[in-house]
């Protein structure tokens, strides 16, 4: 399986609130807060445990007219490296993510 065919879902240790045009994430493990920009927020929202990284890139490309697969890969790797998203192949039956508005 290539990187772009991987499927990720948001980790249960992350809480997320939507404020105006973006998500702010809270990591239960270290209490660090991350403010995503609007584009990163779209990616976060699409990492639902069903879409591949390539699917996410296609969806965003259709919406914006910009091919940002490189940026998306980099962001997904950043999230995965911090355990903020999990590869569904490795995830088992982990706790569902939390995403909501303030």
């Amino acid at each position: 399986m290539t990187g772009d065919s991987r499927v990720y879902r948001r980790a249960g240790c992350i809480d997320a609130v939507w404020l105006v045009d973006r998500f702010v994430l809270f990591d239960d493990r270290d209490a660090v807060v991350h403010e995503l920009n609007p584009a990163a927020s779209r990616v976060w929202d699409l990492l639902d445990g069903a879409a591949t990284v390539a699917d996410v890139a296609r969806t965003l490309s259709r919406a914006t007219g910009v091919d940002a697969i490189g940026d998306i890969r980099e962001f997904v790797d950043w999230l995965a490296g911090r355990g903020m998203i999990t590869d569904v192949r490795d995830a088992g039956s982990g706790a569902p993510e939390s995403t909501g508005s303030a």
Binding site: D15, V17, L19, V20, R22, V24, F26, D28, D30, A31, V32, V33, H34, E35, S98, A102
Partner: protein, 290 residues
């Protein structure tokens, strides 16, 4: 108000009693010079009440590390520090005591000042100018609530901020140097009780969140800021995001989405003062900025 010494056992060695958000503590210092330093720094936290079992901090020269001091909290050794970091560490220990016992109030990383019963919360990264701005405004007639740790309470129709008047941490040179007298060394830090500059305030209703900045070119007029940025800044720097974790995060998110948030360049502190007075509104105005 007493003079800074507690009666009772080892009274000659104690500074206090003090109260911070309801947490009572004393500081035991065998060294008289150090005890005077503690009494001076914590003067705004002095209380008349004689607590039954206050938290007892003890500061004493380390027998094993010459030139360093041991900081104890009750019977637990917290840290061994140099004399230069001793007071900063002690203030941090008191802050930690408040953080560990602040529920149901929500702690956030911010300075707070109030005028006419309305509070303005100043949130920013370290070195953004929170403490300097809070000190300057206090010297200009605002009431000081805190320079570092705001204690929030959600009430019907809004938010209250409770005071935690720990000494203001200043890095020199500071615009406040002229107000304080003396000539502090460049690149040094000092702890200044707010009462040296003005008045310490009581709990006040929160009317706005301000994100200060000192970057050249940053507008010196208030401009609308993103509530997400305020949420990130308010949740930063406190251990484990303060007490309450996810619940606190959600609560602060509600705050930043319900209270107006502004950027403000604070390169000119008098201009910042005028901007913030306009934001808080005149005496008797309902609610300040909305």
């Amino acid at each position: 108000m007493n003079s800074g010494s507690s009666r009772g056992q080892n009274a000659d060695l104690l500074a206090g009693p003090y109260a911070a958000n309801g947490q009572r503590f004393v500081v035991e210092c065998p060294d008289a010079r150090l005890r005077r330093l503690v009494a001076s720094a914590f003067v705004d936290l002095l209380t008349d009440a004689q607590p039954l079992r206050p938290t007892r901090f003890r500061v004493a020269p380390s027998p094993e590390h010459p030139g360093r001091y041991e900081v104890w909290r009750d019977d637990e050794l917290c840290e061994i520090v140099t004399s230069g970091h001793l007071m900063t560490h002690l203030v941090w220990q008191v802050t930690a005591l408040v953080l560990q016992n602040c529920a149901p109030r929500t702690p956030v990383h911010a300075a707070v000042v109030a005028i006419n019963g309305r509070a303005v919360l100043v949130a920013g990264e370290s070195y953004a100018g929170k403490s300097t701005l809070a000190g300057w405004l206090t010297a200009r007639g605002w009431e000081f609530l805190t320079d570092e740790l705001a204690l929030l309470e959600e009430v019907p129709g809004g938010w209250h901020v409770h005071p935690f008047p720990r000494p203001i941490g200043l890095r020199h040179p500071s615009p406040l140097d002229a107000l304080l007298g003396g000539s502090p060394q460049h690149d040094s830090e000092s702890l200044v009780p707010a009462s040296r500059l003005g008045q310490v305030g009581n709990a006040a209703r929160l009317s706005a969140v301000v994100l200060p900045g000192r970057e050249p070119g940053l507008p010196r007029r208030l401009s609308a800021a993103h509530p997400a940025t305020a949420l990130r800044l308010l949740m930063s720097h406190l251990p484990h995001g303060g007490i309450g974790g996810r619940a606190a995060f959600r609560q602060v998110a509600r705050l930043t989405s319900s209270v107006p948030v502004f950027h403000l360049g604070v390169g000119d502190l008098d201009v910042a003062d005028a901007q913030l007075r306009a934001l808080a509104g005149p005496p008797g105005a309902p609610g300040g900025a909305r």
